[in-house]
């Protein structure tokens, strides 16, 4: 298992290196990071433009710029941003925390609900619980997340105004000015979390429920399940050991694949709710052709991919004894 994980890490590092070369080249060639400065009114002097070009390394050939960047990253320096006062490393750290606050709870809730709904749907196939959940899933799948977010915000505001209490918040992860007191602060944080969490949960719940339903139905139709029932094993044991556990594997794969993407920023939800996390950072950096920020974001994103792939592998082995045995063969 350790060897397989080690190989996977080495592979991921090579992929990361190749992606960084590609993204560095694409972003560098796509636009001029000093475009805004050049268009400033009143015009900025050529000496200042030259100094900025030098600070950002734009006066160097592309390969040399890349080598400078990679050497810096090894030493913990992510390079200069177009915004002079921005410390890219610190900014990435802050933004990851913001994104995690948004994503972790939402994903945990979505996974629990998807497993539950998928199992109910699969075990009660073509009966009213399945039909209701299927209908709800397709409705959710057809809703654009942006529209859903805007709708929820307006709904939240309506409830606030109707009750006279501000329970739901529409921007950021905490109030400005911050609310004092442990409980009051906790409630404030929760009030900011509710709407974006609902959006993220609903957006993922629909598709994950469908995966779980299909996996449950497949598991139910397996020969070993039929054989276990014929042998007279208790239904609860058959369900727990031979249906539910193996049916979780496809969902773990899907969640494992989607989590790094969310870790890198739930861009639409972050934008609508103004959580300035990783997604907002990437959008802003791309708009400004801020190569070093984009590359820093890529490092975090790629690390998340590696990390979640490893986690997925480990979970496979926890859930499926066949995989544990395969490691020992």
């Amino acid at each position: 298992m350790v060897r397989s994980i080690g190989l996977r890490v080495v592979n991921s590092l090579l992929v990361l290196l190749a992606s960084s070369v590609l993204i560095f080249s694409l972003v560098s060639l796509a636009g001029d990071p000093l475009a805004e400065l050049r268009q400033q009114d009143p015009p900025v002097s050529p000496a200042v433009i030259e100094a900025e070009e030098h600070r950002l390394g734009l006066d160097l050939p592309l390969p040399q710029r890349y080598l400078h960047w990679i050497a810096g990253v090894v030493g913990g320096d992510f390079g200069q941003s177009v915004s002079p006062s921005l410390d890219i490393g610190a900014e990435l750290g802050d933004r990851v925390v913001v994104t995690l606050r948004l994503v972790v709870l939402a994903m945990a809730v979505a996974v629990v609900l998807a497993v539950g709904a998928g199992l109910v749907s699969g075990l009660r196939q073509n009966r009213w619980p399945d039909l209701s959940l299927t209908f709800a899933s397709f409705v959710l799948l057809s809703l654009p997340s942006f529209w859903l977010a805007v709708l929820l915000k307006q709904g939240g505001i309506w409830i606030n105004q109707a009750t006279g209490y501000r329970v739901f918040f529409t921007v950021g992860f905490e109030s400005v000015p911050p609310v004092g007191g442990f409980w009051a602060h906790g409630l404030d944080l929760a009030g900011h979390l509710i709407l974006p969490t609902i959006v993220l949960v609903l957006v993922h719940l629909a598709s994950w429920t469908r995966y779980q339903r299909a996996a449950t139905i497949r598991a139910l139709e397996a020969d070993h399940v039929k054989y276990a029932i014929l042998r007279g094993l208790p239904r609860s044991r058959v369900m727990r050991s031979h249906v539910i556990r193996p049916s979780l594997i496809p969902l773990i794969t899907i969640v494992g694949l989607e989590m790094p993407g969310l870790f890198s920023g739930a861009i639409i939800t972050e934008t609508v709710f103004q959580w300035n996390g990783m997604g907002a950072l990437l959008l802003d950096a791309l708009r400004r052709s801020d190569v070093n920020v984009v590359l820093g974001w890529l490092l975090v994103s790629a690390s998340a991919v590696v990390g979640f792939n490893l986690l997925t592998d480990i979970l496979y082995r926890v859930i499926d004894p066949r995989m544990r045995r395969a490691d020992h063969v």
Partner: protein, 565 residues
Amino acid sequence: MRKTHKRALTIGLILALGATALAGCSKIDSSTDPQPGPVQAEVKEGGEAVFAGFIATPRSWNPLTAQGDTTGNRQAQWPFYPHVFYGASDGSLQLNSDLMESATIVSVDPMTVEYKIRPEAVWSDGEPIDGDDFAFTQMVQDPRQCADCQAAWTAGYDQMELTVSADKKTVTAVFDNPFTMWKTLFIVILPEHVAATYGDPATAFNDGFVNNMPPISGGPYVISDFQANVSLTMVKNDKWYGSPAHLDTIHYRFITSPSEVITAYQNGEVTIVYQNPSLETIEKANAIEGSVVEIIGGLTYFNLIFKTVGDALGDPILRLAVARAIDGGDIVTRIPRQYAPDTPLLGSLAYAPGQRVSDFTGDPYTDNAKAANVGQGDVDGALELLTDAGYTVQDGQLHLPDGSLLRPLTILTYSSDSERVQMAEILNNQLKALGVQTVIDSADSTRYGTAGFAGEFDILVTATAGDLGVQALDQWYGTGKARNGSGYSSAAFDDLVADGNLALDPTESVRILNAMDVMLLEEAVALPLYSIGNVLIHSQQFGGIAPSMSKYGITWSIDGWGFLA
């Protein structure tokens, strides 16, 4: 109360001037129960406000650097620095009598300005605001003294010699040449004693002031807390030497999307909003009960620039015909009047309606476009011009005097600005009346500026900051100037620029700027469209918020903000 009184007087005068003044400062009051104007109302002490709009996490804490000299940063940091002059509501520059006893030209040859600083003016750490601060601020913006300092603006500073009196409260600036825009100098003064802690002047200016939040303040408020990408909080500066500020605490909330700002306002998460308007945001704001919604025309305006050299619009007859056929009123009706019905069609590249010029008693604005008959949608007149010159329209397409078909004209516009894109689409339609076909080149931020400056267009949809006087027009239309993508070159125009740069008399200065405007309009080099507005939204409980036509927005009046008594 000095500044407050002066401000109230200024605003009273503006109101008294009636419709002309109001044309550039139109107000939409959405309140169901109209309240007295916020500016005249008496406000009480105490309370706090959360402000959102233009202001974002500063990319540079130094508002004098090229990177820090942005609209949002200027407005955000206004309350923390001393200013010799400020941009008042009508766009004129007024002496900041909280800080200054006087700032006057004491000699015209050589031009000499004497600045007298109030003895009581101090920074929030108790250090006096004095000539050393002036000298440092001048030095870092003068390439002769600090070649490595990355200042946004060096004009004026690069031709003055400063002397500081023994008590350091009088500063005398002697200019090599007359500098008409002298009131724009020292609009922000940096603390010299803080600079000394950062190292040599270049390091202090480029790094120290850029990377560090202002540790002290020379204005009515001082920063008490800052969270990147979330908020900045300021409290009253207890060493503030001017008229007392009203609100105890003000928070800037960093929200990057204008539509989310309005939603946050609707939910009570922000209490004052100042940002660019759009139909969507204004409709939303108007629907919020108990709000005051004001749209204020600024000194920056949208305009068209025509290519004056080359094969198509290089022909002055065709260019004039195109300028004549364009219906600016239709553009204004279809775009800004959708959310600001009183928006006037701009008739000048030099001044905006309602704008005032310091020490000039008259109205500097003249509708020169109407007089030159450009931008008025005169299609018949344009066709007559073309016919007389041998052009013909066959099958709805314009043919040159030699019989060949006029190639499609390229309209260069900015893809990130929906209004500029709309303007290009409207132009595309309007010019069909002349048989002129156009193609729209919608460029993003990385190409728009360079393509515009390089003249890769026939018609450029652009915006111009009108607060720079002669220099605003010179940089776009002066012979060989870096932004002159139109290729326009006129000795007479350049002579006017030279005269304008030396004219210290405001009356003469206004005359010259209007003469430059007439020249550009009569030769169909450019066409003004409308002022870019900003919208101020706040609850009827607030007062004392005075929007300015200048780029300093509403924070210039921050000490006057408060809850109505």
